[in-house]
Symmetry: D3
Subunit: 67 residues, 6 copies
Amino acid sequence: MPYVNIKITREGASKEEKAALIAGVTELLQKVLNKNPATTVVVIDEVDTDNWGIGGEQVTERRKRGS
Amino acid sequence: MPYVNIKITREGASKEEKAALIAGVTELLQKVLNKNPATTVVVIDEVDTDNWGIGGEQVTERRKRGS
Amino acid sequence: MPYVNIKITREGASKEEKAALIAGVTELLQKVLNKNPATTVVVIDEVDTDNWGIGGEQVTERRKRGS
Amino acid sequence: MPYVNIKITREGASKEEKAALIAGVTELLQKVLNKNPATTVVVIDEVDTDNWGIGGEQVTERRKRGS
Amino acid sequence: MPYVNIKITREGASKEEKAALIAGVTELLQKVLNKNPATTVVVIDEVDTDNWGIGGEQVTERRKRGS
Amino acid sequence: MPYVNIKITREGASKEEKAALIAGVTELLQKVLNKNPATTVVVIDEVDTDNWGIGGEQVTERRKRGS
């Protein structure tokens, strides 16, 4: 019954891509730890680039510089 | 001074229902552990059904099948 | 299928008290939002008082002063 | 490589204020624990005042009373 | 630069199994969303079975019944 | 009433260092967003290096290579 929270920047992930993340993580937990897929929960948070920082800087600014 | 995070799918919980969750959890922590309501914090996250998976599948798809 | 995370300071909550929190939160979500208890997940984190701050101060220090 | 999550009520924090939080937390972790800024991640969540409770009550209601 | 938090019950996951989860999730995010592995962070929390509830009940109790 | 969660690897942060993080983050939120220190909550999680991954690899392994 694992719980997985995936946080990514909000930059247009499609419904299908999110479905692939959910399926892939659930399968990984079954393969590695024999966890029951039926009770594996995955929650994806999409975060505005103004609200995500790395290296002390907003991702919005990094993207402008091409990083 | 507990901190409680409640994650639910975004499917139309009303302001009154959210108030009832906040009041109920705060009361529960006071009753069970004698925690001071004044410093009990509750945060509710509503998550799109595309972003919530269980059983390796998006809730959006489960809802379509009537689950 | 809600997910609830309860964070409390590590100050001797018993197994029975934790069971009461789990049962109480699950029931609250069923009562208020008609959520299915079978897929409601509750995770309790107990945090050392050195690692919890409020008012800019460790709980360890507040406890010494009787707060 | 610390990860910091800051949750605040959604009440109009500007892009510049969020940048200041990101820079400030990253600097603090470098100063106190010598953590490498390049791999320090900061995520800011802004939460609706209906979804944030303290003292068993929604912040929306507290704001109405001037708290 | 995704951040992934995996919560599992503390039931003896080995160092190698945890390494497989970290590698697998990082690879999945690269494959599905083209995320840079160098800045993908994965944190695994192992939670005591007394502190994890599902169906309104502690996992400790469920395990005793063979669930 | 912000809530801040700081996750760091468990590598010997002292009580004083943790106090400095708590005080520093609380002060930052007051300075930048005028948040009331009295209701600012900070929780520090220390995570085993086997349970923290970056670049698809456990921090334990990175430390062995001197990273």
